[in-house]
């Protein structure tokens, strides 16, 4: 036994799973987004507001416009996470692609999409990640690209590993890729995580389960798409992203300097 033991203030998986079930049982209507107040995810306890947010209806709000990043900030090659070092990273090579849309189904064009992830062993190239899994000198796990005129993005990377964390005893995050996406309005901003289909860790993970509606959780899971797999090279996953919130009410997004 190398890890912590339940009972000294560190909850067991059984306790967390029971709390998740209770929270899901208390959901009276399907909600699109996770609850900010979701105690099974212990870090949320002191970091969610108690007061309801104040609605802003102002059509001229600055938040209804958006920056366009990327013309200057994205270099060719930033979208291929397997070619950022002299050698190739270890792991299962994959491509992930999809479209960024608003809720009306309109493509979000020319906007920045950023990703970050653990390596194939489940370790982040981040100084504060202490998981005793190997770093991969050929993998940083950071990528960016701009959407095309159909709102499409595409990354080549390796499939990340699951990794342990200290929310509770024997806590493991399902494999995921973090996504950061801009829309046509700052109010559409989204940071989220993409998961892989069929991961057995889903029911144990309080971060995914903070989305209490099963249909909404399913929207965080990419689909394996055999047509995207390339012979003797990589496996393909498809994942579309739909941004919430009001689209821009003013003419197109503004270019930043």
């Amino acid at each position: 036994m190398t890890g912590p033991v339940a009972g000294w203030g560190i909850p067991s998986q059984e306790r967390i799973t029971a709390e998740i079930a209770a929270a899901h049982g208390s959901a009276v209507k399907p909600e699109h987004h996770p609850r900010r107040d979701f105690a099974p995810y212990r870090s949320s306890v002191l970091r969610h507001p108690h007061r309801a947010p104040v609605p802003v209806g102002d059509p001229d709000a600055a938040e209804r416009t958006a920056p366009v990043l990327g013309t200057r900030d994205v270099r060719a090659g930033d979208a291929d996470l397997t070619r950022q070092h002299p050698g190739e990273p270890l792991g299962e090579r994959i491509t992930v692609t999809g479209r960024v849309l608003d809720r009306a189904g309109r493509p979000v064009r020319g906007q920045l999409v950023e990703v970050w992830q653990a390596n194939a062993a489940g370790r982040y190239a981040h100084e504060r990640d202490r998981h005793p899994a190997p770093l991969d000198p050929n993998f940083t796990g950071v990528g960016r690209c701009r959407t095309d005129d159909e709102g499409r993005y595409a990354f080549t990377t390796i499939r990340p590993g699951a990794y342990p964390w200290r929310n509770h005893v024997n806590a493991w995050r399902p494999a995921h890729i973090h996504f950061s996406v801009f829309g046509t309005a700052f109010a559409q901003r989204l940071v989220t995580q993409m998961y892989f289909p069929g991961d057995p860790l889903f029911p144990y993970d309080p971060i995914l389960q903070a989305v209490t509606d099963p249909a909404a959780r399913a929207r965080l899971v990419a689909a394996y798409d055999h047509a995207l797999s390339r012979p003797e090279w990589s496996l393909g996953y498809r994942w579309d992203i739909v941004l919430d919130g009001p689209a821009a009410t003013l003419p197109g997004p503004e270019e930043t300097s």
Binding site: H33, P34, R36, F38, Y41, S43, S44, L46, R47, H48, P49, H50, R51, P53, V54, P55, V56, D58, D60, A61, A62, E63, T65, P67, L101, R103, A104, G105, V115, A118, Y124, H126, R128, D129, T140, G141, V142, H178, S180, F186, A187, L190, V191, T192, Q193, I207, L208, A210, V211, A216, R217, R219, I241, L243, D244, G245, P246, E254, T256, S257
Partner: protein, 159 residues
């Protein structure tokens, strides 16, 4: 028209530091920009403790986007231009480990901030959480309290 269901938010987590912050991310305007102001503060949780792993974004139309991570003491700082009288505020978006869905707020800056609009719609006892306090020399203090006493007023644009 039937709207597509949105992709749910998920927390930014603890390990964004090598991915999202970038050099000069706190400079919405360059050093030496005429009339530039500095806006800074601390992010704190419901215990009043520093949040050392928050990521803040600032979007000022016509000026630029800012993105800064908080330090070990929860402190952050950006340099920008004074916001225009028509929109006397700096929009802020807050991400953090433990925060499942980002939060929007505004730092109201300067004398025009007192006039009407959103501030008038917020209960008086909470209004000060939206106002950046002048410290002189073009510097303004804006603390963000995620929870509890003096909890920052957060905003909803989806209604």
């Amino acid at each position: 028209m039937t709207l597509l269901p949105p992709t749910p938010s998920q927390t930014v987590g603890p390990f964004f530091g090598h991915a999202l912050p970038y050099e000069g991310g706190g400079d919405l305007v360059p050093a030496g920009h005429p009339g530039a102001i500095s806006v800074h503060g601390y992010v704190r949780d419901g215990n009043g403790d520093a949040v050392p792993d928050a990521l803040l974004e600032f979007w000022q139309p016509g000026t630029g986007l800012g993105r800064v991570a908080t330090g070990a003491d929860g402190h952050w700082s950006v340099r920008t231009a004074p916001p225009p009288a028509a929109r006397p505020y700096l929009p802020v978006c807050v991400f953090a480990r433990g925060l499942m869905h980002h939060l929007f707020t505004r730092a109201y800056i300067g004398p025009a901030a007192a006039a009407g609009g959103l501030l008038a719609a917020v209960p008086e006892e909470r209004r000060s959480t939206l106002i950046a306090r002048p410290e002189g020399d073009g510097t303004y203090r804006f603390d963000i309290r995620l929870q509890g006493e003096k909890e920052t007023v957060f905003l909803d644009f989806h209604g």
